[in-house]
């Protein structure tokens, strides 16, 4: 397949792995611990497991799977709110597929659907708007979820609904922003990370500049990375080169998609429709200041939170979950107390077991819980 296979070339991968090994061998570093690199985005985590990238890397590089899976970090209370909206008889509740299974405190959207709620899977917010046009007597609510990657499409849909004067359409806005979250991780006292792979599709919208503080104030290097396995290997190599040369910069490996300045049209729509929330609750990480957006007053009629009385209950993560520590790279997924026993993809307790992009689910599915806790390398190397 053109423009895909080129980025999965085994021969090029071998060359890159050799280069990475060569760099590591000559680097001055603390040999008693592995170099910890966090891939922030769930899309990277998925590719890493899908192609077995981790097993190709030298043992002295440890990939820490970050918080960038919007489905995973959704707190239970917000899922309960979704279900409460979906329970209203006039509502058609629309959502991306993988948000269907996320457990709430009582039930998931999938269970709510089975119990008779009108929950439908869509592939774009525009599909939800089309449903609203087709069903003028119903209230169509779209579950807006995701980082800056999906934020513009939801914003543009709101603007479209306004132009068309569609009155029976609203967004349940759960969009979150990545930068305050990376900052929260960097501020954590038990942080050990040596560098970051930056989320390429977020940068396609916001550009490079918002990450500058990571290099400047926290002295950690970052490479904005694409999602094909060669992208990931090359980005790791670029990151190692920075560490080797003592540089801390925000480099962009994904130039072919993510321009330095981002996407001005998308940013304009985002600024027009949303404003920052004071704080937003994350599963596994707790409340993070300015980490979510809500719909501006001017578009209040498209805001499901204003339109319907949403319970907005805060439900604490289960105590036994160690998602936060896994997210920060303090422990590996299988070192968590409940990994693979109380917490499995069938009955996820914690954020990271919820979606296939979550680190724990990915380890469970691709890395193998059967190896058990404490064993050295979970990916089949």
């Amino acid at each position: 397949m053109k423009f895909v296979d080129e980025f999965r070339d085994r021969a090029k991968a071998e060359i890159l792995v050799k280069e990475i090994e060569r760099l590591l061998a000559r680097m001055k570093r603390d040999e008693t611990r592995p170099l910890q690199i966090m891939e922030v985005c769930g899309g990277h985590t998925h590719s890493i497991f899908r192609y077995g990238v981790e097993g190709m890397l030298p043992k002295s590089i440890e990939l820490v799977h970050g918080p960038g899976c919007p489905v995973c970090v959704l707190p239970m209370g917000r899922v309960d709110d979704c279900v409460a909206i979906a329970e209203r008889p006039e509502v058609i509740f629309t959502t991306f597929g993988d948000a269907m299974r996320v457990p709430g405190s009582r039930r998931s959207l999938l269970q709510a659907k089975a119990d008779g709620c009108d929950v439908r899977m869509v592939y774009s917010p525009m599909d939800a708007l089309a449903l609203a046009r087709q069903n003028p007597t119903r209230e169509v609510v779209f579950f807006g979820i995701g980082f800056e990657t999906t934020m513009p499409s939801t914003a543009l849909t709101v603007l479209q609904a306004e132009r068309e004067r569609v009155e029976n359409f609203s967004i349940f806005c759960n969009h979150i922003t990545i930068v305050p979250t990376i900052k929260a991780i960097l501020d954590s006292p038990d942080l050990r990370l040596d560098g970051f792979l930056g989320p390429g599709h977020v940068s396609m919208v916001i550009g490079d500049a918002p990450y500058e503080f990571i290099a400047r104030y926290y002295r950690k290097p970052m490479v904005i990375a694409g999602f094909e396995p060669l992208d990931i290997l090359q980005s790791i190599w670029m990151l190692l080169r920075q560490i080797d040369e003592g540089r801390c910069e925000i480099e962009n490996q994904y130039m072919r998609v993510a321009p330095q300045a981002g996407n001005a049209v998308a940013l304009k729509a985002v600024a027009q429709v949303y404003e920052l929330r004071e704080f937003f609750e994350w599963r596994g990480l707790g409340s993070i200041d300015h980490s979510g957006v809500k719909i501006r007053e001017a578009y209040a009629r498209f805001d499901a939170e204003r339109k319907f009385a949403v319970p907005n209950a805060r439900i604490a993560d289960p105590k036994s979950c160690q998602c936060g520590e896994v997210l920060k790279g303090v422990i590996k997924p299988w070192e968590c107390k409940v990994f693979g026993c109380a917490c499995t993809p069938e009955t996820p307790l914690g954020a990271l077991m919820v979606s296939s992009e979550g680190a724990c689910a990915a380890y469970y599915q691709y890395g193998g819980v059967k190896r058990g806790r404490g064993e050295e390398e979970a990916s089949a190397a």
Partner: protein
């Protein structure tokens, strides 16, 4: 000008209304007409035409084919009813025929029970019945008994079909997942995931124009050629729902062996790959309706592939992996196209498209 025009000629057949109503399920004349006109007409065989409560099959006649009866049943619910490459009728025949065939049986007789929602068009019902008849002929089976029920609007999604099948296993044919041994080869008869991708595409809710057709086909001939060429074949299974990933896990679990497949050897249509890329799906978990996974001893693998390639339904047959040592029993892994390795586990629920 109060002329009322009568049709010059009554349409042929006994059912003259355009849609199925509850009257067609009432047990009276309307039901009998529907069965005669749609099903008996299409399936056209003397055993069914008797319309007795059961079809009676001569045991001696069966015994000429082997020494064991194979007996299986399957229900078919699919949206849309008609899709590129097939329809629910073709699927209902192939599904049961293939379940018999992969067990090493020669499929012979089918039953057909149909549950129809009131309001379904008679033409559609006729089309599905004809499709079942054509497919049954292709598969060399006869549909000898059946049942029709009509239910209220909303009680079923237009049409559900259950087929039960009888086949005979020849003496000496022994297939079982537990028979897989270290070094055995894992084979498939062609491109994977076509059916799953065709159905997802045909639902039309993702605004993707896809040229992918279902691979839905009866496999009794292909399996027979395979067993001729590789008589010590350990096991055959049709990787329907859950795809080959699920079947390989079932084999690994049953035989307590590890299986490794090679992504580069796994035959996939470019269109299916592209489809999966866009939606974030994994083709290993997509359904197939005209495919088998076979485990053969290593020294019979090549001849098995050759035999399948000589058959129209096996042109792209390939060895995709092996039963291997060095991994925990029950595990399936894949050498990725990129040179890494990953675990191929069972799916927890349904595959859901990913958000980003």
């Amino acid at each position: 000008m109060n002329m009322i025009s009568f049709p010059s000629r009554r349409p042929r057949g006994k059912v003259h209304v355009p849609t199925v109503t509850l009257a067609h399920g009432g047990g009276g004349k309307a039901m009998k007409d529907l069965i005669d006109d749609v099903f008996v007409e299409a399936f056209d065989n003397p055993l069914l035409a008797l319309l007795d409560d059961s079809a009676q099959i001569d045991l001696l006649g069966l015994a000429q084919y082997g020494d064991r009866l194979a007996f299986t049943t399957d229900s078919f619910v699919i949206d849309p009813l008609v899709f590129p490459g097939g329809d629910i009728g073709r699927l209902a025949v192939c599904g049961t025929v293939n379940d018999l065939a992969v067990g090493g049986a020669l499929p012979l007789y089918l039953s057909c029970a149909v549950i129809v929602e009131e309001g379904v068009s008679i033409d559609l019902l006729r089309q599905i019945a004809k499709s079942m008849a054509t497919t049954a002929q292709e598969a060399g089976v006869k549909i000898v008994t059946g049942d029709t029920k009509v239910v209220n609007k909303g009680a079923c999604d237009r049409m559900f079909i259950t087929t039960t099948g009888i086949g005979v296993v020849a003496a000496g044919v022994e297939l079982g997942a537990h028979r897989a041994r270290l070094g055995d080869a894992v084979l498939v008869n062609g491109l994977l995931g076509d059916h799953g991708a065709a159905i997802l595409g045909a639902r039309g809710d993702m605004a993707l124009q896809s040229p992918i057709e279902s691979d839905c086909a009866p496999l009794q001939d292909l399996v027979a050629s395979l067993l001729d060429a590789a008589p010590n074949t350990r096991f055959i299974r049709d990787p329907t729902r859950g795809g080959i990933a699920t079947v390989l896990n079932e084999i690994a679990e049953a035989a307590q062996v590890a299986i490794e497949i090679d992504e580069t050897a796994t035959p996939l249509r470019d269109e299916v790959r592209g489809f999966c890329e866009i939606l974030g799906l994994d083709p290993l978990y997509l359904a197939n309706e005209g495919k088998i996974v076979a485990i053969t001893p290593p020294d019979e693998a090549e001849q098995a592939v050759d035999a399948m390639r000589a058959h129209p339904l096996g042109r792209q047959a390939a060895i995709i992996g092996n039963v291997v040592a060095g991994e925990p029993a029950g595990r399936v892994t894949m050498r990725t196209i990129f040179g890494g390795r990953r675990i191929v586990d069972m799916l927890v629920g349904e595959q859901l498209p990913r958000i980003c």
